[in-house]
């Protein structure tokens, strides 16, 4: 079965190369028959890659330890779901997963867009197959997933998957993230095809907007799931540490989000054409660059795989080449990209969207500089100097707050130029609400903490601005529903339905904003975090905030592929018993690796989080307690965000046909 996989990858490579030639020929000569050849090449490469993916999964399911990759990432004692998750637990498998997902996107693109975009399609296929070729070359010549161990090296059991990755979230988080990162290849391909053909009208970005929303949604979910995994598994009480790999997943989200906003300006006013193309190019190259960073080991990270010079050189050349070709195409077409319109006033929606774009890019640059800082300093001074989370926590919050502010402003001010009476009508209630909540939480936090420093000011501003934005959103809904109800025979619920159907982009967008605001409220909760480390004997108690924790007993874990101990703790909130918590200290025998599994009691207002740091020799337990307010709102936020994006993307009969119309 594994031979079949290796064979499939070998066959896919020449087919992809032939497809590129066919696509380029079709593009130059405008020969539709050759476009169809290239499209078929995509289907065939997709089929071969799927065969390779399945056969690797089967090798993992059957514990085929003849394969070096399987032996290094799996073991017999792991349950089947985790053996399957181990398929992408290492370098080669994660690259194959990348390619597999790209081919799913490519096939879907041919199936759904092929009919409408005959002029763009040849170059779209060329871009897709060129990217596939790169990964096929990597998988056949540099890191082979199907490489066999010499017979004398084959063992009866593998070395297992890193225990930290043996968690349910790890079954879906990498797939979500890859569905996000890889999916940006489709908008990239369309943008490039538009540049090559010079068909820079509304066609490419109408297609692209939809195909950007899909990976953008997956990426957002993937990023948050990663945070959730860190929170539940890594056991340091937090969900985000500005680790290079976290940054790598977050960086492409920024230009993609910027694009989704600025493309609206192009739609309404025909402006920012070059800028939008640039954002698409940037998004995809940042995806590749992030993958390069974390997969090449050039920046130290908990997630990084090993350094291999061949891999580094090949991958970096690929990233730079992609960027170079795209920018070159952009420069060649610059004459065709001039916009007839200009921004008329800083008090206009265009201006606020432009500012929004600037801030997104500023955040991107800040994160990129921070992540690459060790690389720069090593090149200049021979010493690697890193910046810690404090750097990011300094730079990012003010920029994010400004974005939050724009989230409230942008949708409410008019295109072109806003009038003073309009501003008063739109902003009186939201500003009042923001001030009330901001000042209220300032008084409350001051009483709780005694004093307020800059980090806490950020938190208070977040809550004030959140109240402001939420009020604007509800005001928009309220006014629109009221207008419809007054006008005719719709009841409020019907009116709401009509809004979500007929103006899905606008009213779905508000729901997305609401989700982001929820998450921001949750992030800001960290200003009230408390933690405490204590060593306690059985029967004694620790207090933290309004909670009291009593150490009951310590028990051995039933022996399996890990052993260890768990402690039972009774949790009281304001003296009422609320939960029994059982943090664990595990030892994974095979890898000789310990792991602390935290226990979390979670409510809408706060999380109470306990880690068993050590079970001491005298039977006492050293416990680390965290009191983390509002964390749940981050997870609630992403659910709201998904609902909002679904409203925006929902294919209503009236809108589905519009790609044909243009």
């Amino acid at each position: 079965m594994s031979d079949l996989g290796a064979l499939a990858l070998r066959f896919a490579l020449p087919v992809a190369l032939l497809g590129i030639v066919a696509g380029a020929f079709a593009g130059v000569k405008r020969r539709d028959d050759w476009t169809q050849v290239a499209e078929r090449a995509i289907w065939i490469v997709g089929l071969f890659v799927a065969i390779a993916m399945v056969s690797l999964a089967v090798a993992f399911a059957n514990c085929d330890f003849e394969l070096r990759y399987v032996a290094n990432n799996s073991s017999r004692d792991m349950a089947l779901p985790y053996r399957l998750a181990a398929v992408w637990g290492g370098q080669a498998g994660s690259l194959l997963l990348w390619l597999f997902i790209m081919m799913i996107y490519a096939c879907a693109c041919v199936a759904f867009q092929g009919r409408h975009n005959r002029t763009l399609m040849p170059w779209v296929t060329v871009v897709l197959l060129a990217n596939a070729t790169f990964f096929l070359v990597l998988l056949t010549f540099v890191t082979e997933p199907f490489e066999k161990l010499p017979p004398s090296h084959v063992l009866s059991d593998g070395t297992g998957l890193n225990p930290l990755l043996q968690h349910p979230v790890m079954l879906i988080h990498p797939i979500m993230l890859y569905l996000g990162l890889v999916g940006f290849v489709i908008p990239f391909a369309f943008a490039f095809a538009a540049l090559v053909t010079g068909e820079l009208g509304s066609q490419w970005f109408r297609v692209t907007r939809r195909w950007t929303l899909i990976p953008w949604l997956f990426l957002s979910v993937g990023i948050v799931l990663g945070g959730r995994w860190a929170y539940e598994v890594l056991g340091w009480g937090g969900y985000w540490a500005w680790d290079p790999v976290e940054n790598a997943s977050f960086m492409p989200w920024l230009p993609a989000t910027a694009y989704l906003h600025s493309v609206m300006i192009q739609e309404k006013r025909g402006m920012l054409r070059t800028w939008n193309l640039l954002l698409i190019g940037l998004t995809y190259t940042v995806c590749l660059f992030g993958t390069f960073l974390t997969r090449s080991g050039i920046v130290q990270s908990v997630h990084a795989f090993a350094q291999t010079p061949v891999f580094q050189t090949v991958f970096l050349s690929y990233v730079l080449l992609t960027l170079f070709i795209f920018v070159a195409a952009l420069v060649m077409r610059r004459g065709k990209l001039k916009s007839p319109n200009r921004i008329e006033s800083m008090l206009s929606r265009e201006a606020s969207f432009l500012l929004n774009n600037w801030v997104f890019i500023a955040i991107l640059l800040a994160i990129m500089c921070g992540t690459l800082f060790p690389v720069f300093t090593e090149a200049l001074t021979d010493q690697r100097i890193a910046v810690g989370p404090s750097f990011f926590n300094l730079i990012i919050p003010p920029l994010a707050l400004f974005l939050l502010f724009l989230t409230g402003i942008g949708p409410l001010i008019a295109w072109r130029r806003a009038s003073r009476t309009m501003l008063r009508r739109q902003f009186t209630a939201p500003v009042a609400m923001g001030l009330v909540v901001g000042i209220g939480s300032w008084l409350w936090v001051r009483e709780r903490l005694g004093s307020i420093d800059i980090g806490e000011v950020y938190g208070l501003l977040t809550w004030g601005l959140s109240a402001f934005v939420i009020t604007t959103i509800f005001q928009e809904y309220w006014r629109a529903i009221r207008a419809r109800v007054r006008k005719g025979d719709e009841n409020p619920f019907q009116a709401l339905g009509t809004l979500l159907r007929k103006h899905q982009q606008r009213y779905g967008g508000y729901v997305v904003h609401l989700g982001v605001v929820c998450a921001m409220i949750g992030f800001a909760g960290s200003i009230l975090n408390q933690e405490r480390l204590e060593n306690v004997k059985p029967g004694s108690e620790i207090e933290l905030a309004e909670y009291r924790l009593r150490y009951l007993t310590a028990d051995a874990l039933p022996a399996q592929h890990f052993g260890g101990a768990k402690v039972r703790l009774a949790l009281y909130r304001n003296d009422a018993p609320v939960a029994v918590m059982t943090p664990e200290k595990r030892m994974y025998w095979l890898q000789d690796q310990p792991a602390s599994i935290p226990s979390i009691y979670s409510t809408l207002t706060e999380d109470f989080y306990v880690i068993l740091t050590a079970l001491e020799r005298d039977g006492s337990a050293t416990l680390k307690l965290y009191y983390n307010p509002l964390v749940n709102w981050i997870w609630i936020g992403i659910v709201v965000f998904v609902v909002g994006t679904a409203i925006v993307m929902w294919p209503h009969p009236s809108t589905v046909s519009h790609p044909d119309a243009t």
Partner: protein
Amino acid sequence: MSKGTQIAVGASVIALLLGWILVTNSGGTVSFAYFQDLSSFQASAVDQIGRATRVHGYVVKGSIERDLQAMQVEFRVQNDPPHAGAPVGQTLKVSYGSLDTPDLFKDGAEVVLEGVLLSAGPDGVYHADKVMAKCPSKFEAADTTKAASL
């Protein structure tokens, strides 16, 4: 409004924000140097007394003592990874003022210490504010290099 003005307005908003950050945080420590190895650290130990440093080493086997009353952990570090039979060499005594040790912290673990050397010489004590431990078994590390060179 011309393109130049737009850019100027955008740039000045961001410059103002960044400037404000710098003003409010001058004197803050946001960056840190990577670690020194224990042997090079000890070679210049006298100069490093009282300065914030990062030191890399390995936990000497059997040296970890957890003091539950004082809520601290004491241990020694050595420069080279401990192998059976290999000499331990010069060690450094470390006092860590917390019981909050990472999961991977154990006999023989590779550690990076962040803290201050209080006194040099054989009785010198390194006062660690932070102890970071690395996973000793990087099985993929050795493996992919091999695969790449084949």
